[in-house]
């Protein structure tokens, strides 16, 4: 009887890995530190997902249900791994509830942490109520409340979305592109324009990175069908005149300083390495890559390999990642983990 696979993290990647293993009859233990499965899309209350357009609670909710119903997946919520030892094919993990479990292999699907906007104080988050994050706007939409200014509940007439908040910024030690915020912001701009047709939405960008097919379905569509305006400028500061938020910067295309009044300013927050990565790195003895995400050993060998044989990684634990790609990586890493669990992995692990 083969040993189970240990999956750390119950977001899109972890759910995909558990499901994948179950479909081939392989047992797994899914450990999640929060009290529910679903990861960021569920815990942070995302609205409609890119690119499917499905509500997060339906799309990811469906994945959660599938895993929870499976007899082959043991779900442990509110639990973390405190010790991890052994070799590929024969690991032993001590959980925070005191229990010890055996595992043939492990898949880290520990995800990311949203950038905390208070670390960019010049952009007004935490100082002005109507400066919010993309996550907050997602919640306004997914809760059915609609996009409203938090200060007084009014419908905004003019919204600014600032891209790259917590990304591509050496000042705060975050040099990576968070990959998905451009597309998410274009999508959000369209959702705002759809709900509030009288509200003008401006996106302040340094580059627009709506990669691949997102170019037309998000960037072009937001301009052509929803008349969202894009301004090439990195905002210097967000202040207030007591009534409106004042966005200051340089409109680079006309070389003119701007101080424009807005009702609401949205920070398109980036993806930080999971705050627990140092701890995870110590417990599982895996190396982190220079930005602080979990390092991938090679893209061309075992799928999802880390620096430690038998421990694999998938999803945004490895760096900013889309939900679709996280799911694909979860399935892929499950394949590597499965090989070990079946005992055929001895050679692969070397």
């Amino acid at each position: 009887m083969s040993q189970p696979v240990l999956i750390v993290g119950g977001g899109p990647a972890g759910l995909a890995a558990a499901h994948s293993l179950a479909t081939v009859g392989q047992k797994s233990i899914l450990v999640e530190k929060e009290d529910r499965l679903g990861g960021a899309p569920i815990l942070s209350g995302y609205a409609k997902l890119v690119p499917s357009g499905e509500w997060a609670k339906d799309a990811i909710g469906g994945m959660v249900e599938r895993v929870e119903k499976s007899k082959l997946v043991t779900v442990r919520t509110g639990t973390t791994v405190s010790e991890f030892g052994g070799q590929a094919g024969n690991f032993s993990a001590k959980l925070s509830d005191g229990k010890t479990v055996k595992a043939a292999s492990a898949v880290l699907c520990s995800g990311f942490t949203h950038f905390d906007s208070v670390n960019k104080p010049e952009w007004g988050f935490g100082t002005f109520e109507d400066v919010v994050t993309t996550t907050q706007v997602e919640q306004m939409i997914s809760s059915g409340q609609g996009v409203r200014c938090p200060s007084d509940g009014r419908k905004p007439k003019r919204v600014a979305i600032l891209l790259c908040v917590g990304s591509r910024d050496r000042q705060i030690g975050r040099e990576w592109c968070s990959k998905i915020c451009c597309t998410v912001s274009a999508n959000m701009a369209m959702e705002i324009r759809e709900e509030l047709p009288d509200c003008h939405v401006y996106i302040y960008y340094m580059d627009i990175r709506t990669f691949g097919l997102y170019e037309t379905s998000y960037y072009w569509r937001s301009q052509e069908e929803f008349k969202v305006k894009y301004i090439k400028a990195r905002i210097a500061e967000v202040t207030s005149d007591g009534e409106k938020l004042i966005v200051k910067g340089e409109d680079t295309l006309v070389k003119r300083p701007i101080t424009i009044p807005f009702d609401m300013v949205v920070h398109a927050i980036g993806m930080d390495p999971n705050v627990d990565n140092m701890l995870l790195s110590t417990i599982f003895d895996v190396e982190l890559e220079p930005h602080g995400f979990i390092g991938k050993k090679s893209s061309y060998g075992d799928l999802g390999a880390t620096s430690r044989p038998g421990v694999f990684v998938a999803g945004s634990a490895t760096g900013p990642e889309t939900i679709d790609d996280s799911i694909a990586q979860g399935h892929a890493a499950a394949m590597s983990a499965y090989a070990l669990a079946q005992g055929a992995g001895k050679i692969a692990a070397e």
Binding site: R158, H200, Y202, W220, Q223, E224, K227, K229, Y230, I231, K232, D251, L253, V254, R256, P257, I258, T259, I260, P261
Partner: protein, 262 residues
């Protein structure tokens, strides 16, 4: 007071008050010189919608400022200030005063449509140039351009008679633009036509100056076109808020009337 690097500042942004006293201190003349801020303090969202409501301007919101139109532009090659990409941006951001600075060159577009073929987003910049010139005229910022007058004379005649009759068009065009009929090039052209054209054709051409040729049964078509044109004009006036402007002006004038009577 001397301003260093004065050439970097637009002359109209340097303000000086002839007579100014602040807190009892006379700061008239150069003592009161100050430089007006170039800061853009608001967006005027109406302008883009107004231009988009005019024929040719419909796709302005698609522009992503790549500059292909300006790079390919015939007029830009001879005058670097002629910059469709830049004007499209000013319109989109509602920077009206900045746009008006170039009101005397925008109409110079020669409608070669090179930009139309270069634009990756199908903005139809040539159409936007046309709509912008039109907008400048309708709003009273520029007089009607000669080419606009020509278009009007031309279309009026076609709508009226269903036919194009060059002699009349040229005569009305010259009349409306205040040009003399006897222009050297025209006299020369007519002379050569008389020498080269077959007699029958000359006769028809000549006759057309006295008997106005018409397409038979044109009346119905004419009325339909006129009605359609009037409808479109009304739509445009409404989009640009022109009738409201007239109303507002009337309202402002009215209250003064009783005063004048007193």
């Amino acid at each position: 007071m001397p301003i260093h690097e004065e050439h970097l500042i637009r002359p109209e942004n340097i303000k000086t008050k002839e007579n100014l006293v602040i807190d009892g201190i006379d700061v008239s003349g150069h003592w009161s010189t100050f430089i007006e801020s170039r800061v853009v303090t608001d967006y005027n969202e109406a302008i883009e919608d107004e231009i988009a409501a005019l024929p040719g301007g419909e796709h302005i919101h698609r522009c992503w400022q790549c500059g292909s139109c300006t790079n390919s532009c015939t007029v830009n090659a001879v005058n670097a200030d002629f910059n469709p990409r830049y004007w499209i941006y000013l319109i989109r951001m509602g920077m009206e005063s900045e746009l008006l600075r170039d009101k005397d060159i925008i109409w110079q577009c020669v409608s070669c449509n090179k930009c139309t073929y270069a634009c990756p987003r199908d903005v139809f910049p040539e159409g936007v140039m046309k709509a912008t010139s039109h907008w400048l005229e309708l709003k009273g910022h520029t007089p009607k351009s000669p080419s606009m007058v020509f278009d009007e004379v031309f279309s009026e005649q076609v709508i009226e008679t269903g036919k194009i009759e060059e002699g009349r068009i040229i005569r009305s065009f010259f009349k409306r633009t205040g040009q003399p009929l006897m222009q050297d090039w025209l006299v020369e052209m007519v002379k050569r036509m008389v020498l080269k054209l077959p007699v029958k054709m000359l006769f028809t051409l000549g006759l057309a100056n006295f008997v106005r040729p018409r397409t038979s049964n044109w009346g119905g078509a004419r009325d339909a076109i006129k009605e359609y044109a009037a409808e479109k004009h009304a739509e445009q006036r409404q989009a640009l808020g022109l009738d409201e402007l007239v109303e507002m002006a009337k309202q402002e004038v009215k209250p003064r009337l009783p005063e004048a009577a007193e």
